[in-house]
Symmetry: C2
């Protein structure tokens, strides 16, 4: 039977007497089916290190793509044990452009004991946010689900929502009889939450297959204001452990206090030297290599909704740092944050002692133009200028005798540079227009997130251009217990992905 | 049979054909007996909270005093469950002066698992220091014990050595047929390591009984150089917990870093403001009430052996604090020490987070003239001048909204002021001369220890004058595992106590 006839029969059977006129109508007519497929996918445990279950996820997604005629296959890493990426494609004859849609199907580890009223891989619905006290509810068959309802499960938002939004957009376009305006490829990774250790490998091994004009990364939350956003970059990240030393053994603070150097105080002084009272980093050269924001980028920041007052009130902060700069300006600068400090003990566990060491772990966020090795070197040089003998291991007895100030500085493993796609590229403008076409309010264009993703891996391995189009609700508790997706966000996400697949390509 | 005849018979039986000519000779003739009595006392567990065993200690000491004709009794606290003090006396008809000899029979808690080759209340001998690898040895009956040998047991030095040195001095004087030059009283406390919570009570209840010209406190180690020392004071002590606050929940350091205030950095800046780079405390008024050292005290500091170079070398310190001041000068000043700092985590446990709080516990040592409440108030005022809203509890939401900088400062329980006895009192000079009379090297006269003892309790409850005459070896590991007493220190201690009991009283 010809495909068209099958479709007509199928349509008649579903009770729709004509093809849907819009993606929205398609979704409205197929909510139960969409949510059934989503729930089934969410029920498969998906921690990257759980190789057997990860394979079950990959196989399930292959089947989902198969049903959609996307010629799926697994893209394996050189290490066959690593989670594969699931690849599919919808080639459009005559299309001059190619887009790759990215999501990931693995999720953060989850401790069921920390979840409330449900467990990570047994999805339940709540009539709203758990934080607001919404109870567990059960959809009534045949009744549409209230779009304020939320589904609670690991990866409900991060990032199986992305998988579902993308594949359901394909369904909608099929139902509409519309083709994408570019050939569309799909790349769903299985190790993002584990730091994407095999991503560069998989990309490089499939360089030709994955050639594109851009990658659409469907991952992350929409803007705090609820407005949709398109994110053109992420900050880089690198962590550093700094330890300073006192005497070789803990000393009685009465017998030796204020004679023997106290590394807790030394560390306090050292950290204080790194920033001024407005929070600006005073390390020489810290802001040197920053690629300035373009006029378009600066305009987009100015047009973004102002959230600072509401955030300060919510977080109990009377005054934020950065002088007159607001949050959006500050996340477009490199930063230095103290993740923690440890020296001996405090409170009931404290002893009258001069600690032998004091340690701080620092988090350095990087923007485009700053190389992480060089930024760490600036930090090391700064510490040297404070009089420290800086080494990357514990000091020898000789070093302790020779140097009044000794610091161990170690760059922690991992870390990567920033990624930033120009907002004025034709493809960038086209994506924003596409998202705007399905939004009532102005789309927020964000030059960068404050946080980090390894998008630079795409740039460095296959020279890909990446644009992040997130769809999840802002309060989705991603990475934590009680992760959830607000249903309206899924509905919006399907429309967004379909809009991008059918966008007008500017020159 | 008259006492004298008994003594002669006893002397004949022990093989000594004449009374000893010196305290030393007495000791040399009676080593086995002394060590047997010491070992038996050390074998009774003596943690103050172990009420049953503490009573066994007290009863054993009552018997020891009984054998010496010292009319012992227990001095109970108002709370009958508290450890009693053991009191005895040797009244000398016609003596115009009275001395009270103090030691304590309780000890620090001990974890047998941390001891090496022995357990806390089963004393063993080593041929030297465990730290130097000396093995366990067994004395040969009839053979004198090498005075470099050490006995390993809890309270071997702190402070049953004091009990033994004092009571054996009595034996020696009895054997010599000599009377003390003052009436002598004995007061052995059972709760010193627990902070002496009932001491003021016991002293006050026995005010008349305990009247004296001075208390000789036999507790602590001799000078690092090995020279004997007389200590005329101790520093006071008070601890304070300081906590500063950030947002009400931990924030992602990428999304919010350098916008949201970081309490770890705020605390670093606050602590840095409290001292300059030489270690001098920059809090207003910190050194104001210090009673200056007298010329005699300054001379005694100048005459004390210089240990700074050796200590720096031993402790791996290239440069100590205090500018040109040495250790002895510095311990005669009030101090501020950071006992510890805690904010979130470091190293492998670190997360990319802006901590919600940062806490430090500070140790304030006080010298004579400084009241601890007032010194804490100076600290609080300093923190206020750094812009902090200071409270003694966690902040309310309103306070967080209204104040950019909030600190909780809590003075921890316990703590006491300094104690200092003038070195030029007649009794002070007399004690130094007595100790000097049994020392080959110049006795170190210390205006104060760097550390703290609650000697002020004696001053405040019964207006007692206290002089500390320690006898233990410097490396005795007191309060820790493998506490020990070098035998020569016990031999010296007996002579020291006897010398004080028979000292010439200057006017």
């Amino acid at each position: 039977m010809p495909l068209a006839s099958i479709l007509v029969v199928a349509t008649l059977l579903t009770g729709a007497v004509r093809p849907p006129a819009s993606v929205r109508e398609y979704r409205q007519n197929n909510e139960a089916k969409i949510l059934a497929e989503f729930t089934n996918l969410l029920a498969i445990p998906n921690v990257a290190s759980d190789r057997a279950n990860i394979r079950r996820n990959a196989e399930a997604i292959v089947e989902m793509m198969q049903r959609r005629g996307l010629s799926p296959r697994l893209l394996e890493a050189s290490d066959p044990a690593a989670p594969p990426a699931v690849y599919g494609e919808w080639t459009v004859p005559g299309a001059e452009r190619t887009l790759v849609f990215y999501a990931h199907y693995d999720g953060q580890p989850a401790d069921p004991a920390e979840w409330t009223g449900s467990t990570p891989w047994a999805p339940v619905w709540r009539s709203g946010s758990l934080a607001a006290g919404a109870p567990v509810v059960v959809p009534t068959p045949g009744e549409p689900v209230d779009p304020e309802w939320r589904i609670y499960a690991r990866s409900a938002s991060d990032d199986k929502a992305g998988v579902m939004a993308i594949l359901t957009a394909v369904d909608a376009l099929h139902a509409l009889g519309r083709k994408p305006t570019a050939s569309v490829k799909f790349f769903f990774e299985g190790e993002e939450e584990a730091g994407s250790p095999h991503l560069a490998d998989i990309l490089s091994r499939n360089r030709d297959l994955l050639q594109s004009d851009a990658w659409i990364v469907c991952d992350g939350p929409v803007h705090q204001s609820g407005r949709k956003q398109v994110v053109f970059g992420v900050r880089g990240d690198v962590n550093v452990d700094v330890t300073v030393y006192g005497a070789t053994r803990p000393l009685h603070s009465g017998h030796y206090g204020n004679w023997a150097p106290n590394p807790a105080m030394l560390l306090a002084r050292l950290l204080t030297s790194m920033k001024d009272e407005t929070g600006r980093v005073t390390i020489a050269g810290w802001y040197d290599d920053v690629v300035p924001l373009s006029p378009l980028e600066r305009r987009s920041l100015a047009e973004a909704p102002k959230v600072d007052d509401a955030l300060r009130a919510e977080l109990g902060i009377a005054r934020s740092e950065g002088g007159s700069k607001d949050l959006l300006e500050l996340i477009n600068l490199p930063s230095l944050n103290v993740n923690g400090i440890r020296s001996a003990d405090v409170g009931d566990a404290a002893r009258n002692v001069i600690p032998t060491t004091a340690t701080s772990t620092l988090d350095l966020r990087l923007v485009k133009g700053i190389d992480r090795e060089r930024q760490v070197a600036r930090l090391v040089e700064h510490v040297r200028r404070q009089g420290y003998h800086v080494i990357d291991r514990a000091p020898t007895a000789e070093e302790r005798r020779a140097h009044p100030l000794v610091a161990t500085i170690v760059q922690r493993g991992g870390g990567y540079n920033a990624s930033r796609t120009p907002m004025d590229l034709p493809v960038s403008r086209s994506v924003v227009e596409a998202v705007q076409s399905v939004s009532n309010e102005a789309v927020v264009r964000m030059p960068t997130l404050g946080g980090s993703l390894p998008l630079v891996i795409f740039e460095e391995s296959i020279r890909a251009t990446t644009i992040v189009v997130p769809i999840a609700n802002y309060d989705n508790n991603q990475h934590a217990e009680n992760e959830n997706l607000r249903l309206q966000n899924l509905w919006d996400g399907i429309e967004i992905m379909a809009a991008i697949m059918t966008m007008h390509w500017r020159e």
